[in-house]
């Protein structure tokens, strides 16, 4: 089957990457591992270190410590080789206001031997980009489209997208996702998406990397996360309130406790039963709930964060 990835091929690999700015550790010992040919969702709150990481990967900033490789080339030392094969859509989609998209294409294509003029044709038509209007006069959505156009026509092996959906209406976004699947992922190229739009990331991502305060909290296949992470709701008196690496207490109200269990949820539920608690539900979690749970650990959640208390429990107690 053509879909089996080459096992030793990673698109992005970093080892204990650190980036400090005065007073702040923006990236703190980050060890990323992004396989080739997948869609990798890089998630985190504002200020979590996503943009700093991306800037290091692209050579815009220099890491304080640690090193990494992109597409097999060392960051820093072989940066030009990386840039030849990487397309980047930055968060602030600014370009030269005086140039039209057509001129921007003309400017950009000279840098890339794998540039595809047919791709420019196809995508400019699909996205309905006004090719002869100065960039400064384009709406936010159109600006994003121009950026996407330039990135997609580059023939890059790796697409690094920072908030690629800014200003895109649902129709265009849908088209874009379709293109990502057909022209990028299906061709064995890698997509690295950094975004807040969890639903878009969840739609297309194979892998998830969750970063918070510069540290990688979680990196795994999304499917595996979904098949192993469970929300265990239980009622009882002597329920565990402390946390272990695999179990997080999400909420507690009276004698009700809600846990996020990362592994072996059934065993955990069985253990609780053995201790005399009533396990009401062991339910799967969507990405949004997992994200919120892992990133808001310090604050005790109010009910309504990760779903309400299921009806079955209340009825069994009445």
């Amino acid at each position: 089957m053509p879909w089996r990835k080459k096992m030793n091929d990673t698109a992005i690999w970093t080892e204990k990457l650190v980036k400090t700015y005065p007073g702040v550790r923006a990236v703190d010992g980050l060890s990323l591992n992004v396989p080739r040919g997948v869609a990798y969702g890089f998630l985190g709150r504002n200020g979590a270190g996503k943009t700093s990481t991306i800037r290091i990967l692209l050579g815009l900033a220099r890491a304080t410590e640690g090193h990494g490789k992109v597409l097999g080339f060392s960051i820093g030392r072989d940066q030009i080789a990386i840039l030849e094969r990487t397309a980047y859509v930055s968060e602030s989609k600014t370009l030269y206001g005086g140039l039209t998209p057509r001129e921007l294409v003309r400017f950009t294509r000279g840098f890339y031997p794998n540039w595809s003029d047919q791709a420019v044709e196809k995508y400019s038509r699909l996205f309905e980009i006004p090719m002869d209007r100065p960039f400064a006069k384009l709406s936010q959505g159109n600006r994003t489209k121009v950026y996407l156009l330039l990135a997609l026509s580059q023939g890059a092996d790796l697409l690094v997208l920072d908030e690629p959906a800014t200003g895109l209406d649902p129709v265009v976004l849908d088209e874009f996702l379709c293109i990502l699947v057909q022209d990028v992922i299906a061709e064995g190229r890698t997509v690295f998406i950094s975004s807040h739009q969890l639903s878009d990331v969840e739609q297309i991502a194979d892998w998830i990397g969750l970063i918070d305060h510069g540290k990688l909290l979680l990196e795994a296949r999304l499917d595996d996360i979904k098949s192993q992470f469970r929300c265990v709701t239980a009622a009882g008196n002597a329920l565990p309130q402390t946390e272990s690496p695999e179990v997080l207490l999400l909420a507690s109200e009276g004698s009700f406790y809600k846990y996020l269990v990362k592994k072996n949820a059934d065993a955990f539920a069985a253990e609780l039963s053995r201790q005399g608690a009533t396990v009401a539900e062991v339910s799967p979690l969507g990405l949004r709930e997992i994200f919120l749970a892992l990133v808001r650990k310090e604050e005790p959640c109010t009910s309504g964060n990760v779903g309400g208390i299921p009806a079955a429990v209340s009825s069994s107690l009445s």
């Binding site: 089957m1 053509p2 879909w3 990835k5 040919g37 997948v38 869609a39 849908d174 996702l177 379709c178 699947v181 057909q182 992922i185 299906a186 639903s199 969840e202 739609q203 297309i204 991502a205 194979d206 999304l222 499917d223 595996d224 979904k226 098949s227 992470f229 339910s283 799967p284 979690l285 969507g286 990405l287 949004r288």
Partner: protein, 172 residues
Amino acid sequence: MTRGSQKSASRAKRKGEAKKVLDKSTVAVYQYSMLLHVNTASGVPTYLQIETQVKHYIAAGALTPGDALPSVRQLASDLRISTNTVARAYQNLERDGILRTVPGGRTYVGENPGSFLKAERVRRLRPYARQIAVEGTQLRLDPREIMELVQQELDALEEENERYSNLDRKAR
């Protein structure tokens, strides 16, 4: 609307032929792309959703042995999900003998019942049976009620089977 069916339709128009050029496999692909759907926001892994649905449609008779499934690329593109997810689902189903991929690349529904011995098939079903037994007991249902439930589901599948075979007959 798969590219396949569009291309063959326009080809026919160009040739000026009145007869329908859509053959059975193209219809099947068209139908089944519409049948399969996923909810990526759910807690159930996407590849599992696809697997479950394919198995369901086979059980319900919507997909019969020899039917062609959409290619990985086509299905992924239609559903707007990663090709890796679809590939994983197809691979798993192939490993279980439910789907079969030919060297040309197309994936078909396999001749499934005959490929395994009865003992093997029973062994595969046992975990699910155990799960029903455990869940049913936990929910304080008695064995008769549990069996009734299972029978109802089997009846519903039978009904679906009927519906799909009627649809098939009309489409020809």
